[in-house]
């Protein structure tokens, strides 16, 4: 870098030194941003309260435990439903109650595995 470049860069640094914002601007901006933040917080609070009663929003409201419980219940319900659909076939194939119970358990396990595969 030559002498001329050094000079002009030094002068540029002095000529374009940072400018302090006026105090009135800082006060006005902090006031405006403060009001915006307050309004946003109020809006969020009322939105959370209104969505709390709607089950569609439970999972989205950041309540993963609730979502997990609801989800597991639904999954178990689906396995039971799918297993029950085949009860007539199992009865026809079973020689006694013990064998029927065994076949029901086996079908239930198969349906649970199938459901897990579907979910993956």
């Amino acid at each position: 870098m030559n002498e001329g470049t050094f000079d002009i860069e030094t002068m540029l640094r002095q000529a374009l030194a940072p400018v302090d914002p006026p105090v009135e601007l800082q006060l006005r901006l902090e006031n405006t941003l403060g009001s915006l933040i307050e309004m946003a917080a109020d809006e969020l609070e009322s939105w959370e309260l209104s969505t709390l009663g709607d089950p569609k929003n439970w999972a989205r409201l950041g309540r993963p435990a609730l979502a997990a419980v609801v989800g597991s219940g639904a999954a178990v319900g689906l396995v039971v439903l799918r297993t029950r659909r085949q009860r007539h076939r199992r009865r026809a194939q079973s020689a006694n109650v013990g064998e029927l119970a065994l076949r029901t358990l086996r079908d239930g396990g198969r349906e649970a595995r199938r459901l897990l595969d579907d979910l993956r």
Binding site: L12, V19, G62
Partner: protein, 186 residues
């Protein structure tokens, strides 16, 4: 389709607001300096600074998510840059000389007091205004805000290499303009 982001919780919102407040405190002077050297007067620089932070507040969460931990100053300056471009386009204004009437300058603007007393610095500022927009902006970012090449590149949406060339050409051109203004005896 990408899943929609989770709605903000009160705690998450409070954290974001606190982080935005930090960003504001850290960069108010940068945004104001940039705006001032872009538009050339305090009145419009104040407007531009205010609009920049209001827009930044609206998009802060997304910017933070997409920045992946990188500093947000280039993003803030890019907002100011876009708003300044709109300012000239909408009002068909040209940048003014960067020095306001001395009577309107508040005591905090020590830079202007310094420049007022220095003809050489005044001349530099006048010639900076004659540079093409992109070169002028790159110089403001480098010398008024102290941004490095990478930050300037992000603010201007260019590559690091292109920014390096831009800065080099801006300094060369300014040097020529100043020499020309001084005349053969200067």
């Amino acid at each position: 389709m990408a899943p929609a982001p989770d709605p903000p919780s009160a705690a998450n919102k409070a954290r974001l607001d606190a982080e935005f407040s930090e960003l504001y405190k850290a960069h108010l002077r940068d945004v104001y300096s940039y705006s001032y050297y872009r538009v050339g007067n305090h009145h419009d620089a104040e407007d531009l600074t205010e609009q920049t932070f209001l827009q930044a507040y609206r998009h802060f969460e997304r910017a933070q998510r997409e920045s992946q931990g990188r500093p947000l100053r280039p993003w803030l300056i890019r907002i100011a840059h876009n708003l300044a471009a709109n300012y000239y386009r909408d009002r068909s204004r040209k940048p003014q000389t960067p020095i306001d009437d001395a009577s309107t300058i508040s005591a905090t603007h020590t830079t202007e007091a310094l420049v007022e007393d220095r003809d050489d610095l005044k001349r530099i500022l006048e010639e900076v205004q004659h540079l093409p927009d992109d070169r002028r902006e790159a110089l403001i970012m480098r010398f008024a805000l102290g941004m490095d090449n990478r930050e300037i590149a992000r603010a201007l949406g260019r590559t690091d290499g292109a920014t390096k060339v831009l800065l080099h050409r801006a300094i060369r051109q300014l040097e020529e303009l100043v020499k020309k203004a001084e005349g053969p005896t200067g």
